[in-house]
Symmetry: C2
Subunit: 206 residues, 2 copies
Amino acid sequence: MPEEPSPPGTVRPGGRTARTRAAALRAAEDALIETGFDALDLADIARRADIGKTTVYRRWGTPAALVADLLLDMAEQSLPRTETGTLDGDLRANARLVHKTLTDPRSGALFKAVVTAAAGHPATATALHRFYATRITEWAPCVEQATARGEVPEGTDPAEVIRAVSAPLYYRFLVSGDPLDAASAERAAAAAAAAARAGAYVTRVG
Amino acid sequence: MPEEPSPPGTVRPGGRTARTRAAALRAAEDALIETGFDALDLADIARRADIGKTTVYRRWGTPAALVADLLLDMAEQSLPRTETGTLDGDLRANARLVHKTLTDPRSGALFKAVVTAAAGHPATATALHRFYATRITEWAPCVEQATARGEVPEGTDPAEVIRAVSAPLYYRFLVSGDPLDAASAERAAAAAAAAARAGAYVTRVG
């Protein structure tokens, strides 16, 4: 029996459209890592991905839109959080993951490129913000559990605590250029936990 | 009596070379704010500054070098810190200053543009890092004074505390896109002070 025809532009997961997208996103990732956002070129992406130039232009239109789609894919594929049983342990695991992402030559270059792209393109910025919102939602329960265990005060904002772990690492990476050593990751986690225990992230009054 | 001739390429402060530099840097600032780093063009800078194109090309050579010189000038002209007499007060003043800088439409656009430029150009990155090092050196004494007053433990790293105030604000601004409201600045200051009091930034063992 022949397969049901798909509506134009949509194919079930794993179909040709999905494979084309996967190839284009992989090529975009490679190009961003090698040459950064400014040099991103849709014709080059089509060559790298071995797909038609017309397909790439029709589907994404601009390098910024392609990067936005890559960020959507990265959000969908991001890893589940670590659970250690203590707030200190969970935040340390989070800090180590962020540290590894930013110091790995490939993923570090990729994140620098997408942040740069977002600075100049609102649609890419929206996709970047969604990516981080997804990561924060994934890790927020570690703060909720810490609140339930009485490690931090009632009303502590989980998202603020998770952001506080990442912020000093991204600040070094993008802004101040101070070394992103292992100690900076441990310190980011310890400082966020200490500030949370002191009630600095209480945003709701119980 | 005639003026002493200056060595080529150098003129005493306030002389013609200084005026040319000031005009070019002001034009670069305006162009970065209006169109971002990617669109920066030395011929356009020369037109905006009403100086010779050859002068601009000979002196700076590339947009990235011009932005690096702008950052050097920004570091030289940055404001002295506020002294309130308490760590909480001093860090709150610092957070409000950073918050104002990032939320002001002109200076916010300028900082986004220079961080973007630094992501792709090592010499601009070096100048950006020097700019923040200057700011941190200016504000570090507020932590030294807090240590002397016994507000934070001996061995607290002043630079780490100052970076901790800025980091959450830059993270929202460049990365996560969460609102940069006044509360986020107050929270950044309070969290850095709380973590410092808890000893999270002790890096030297007395």
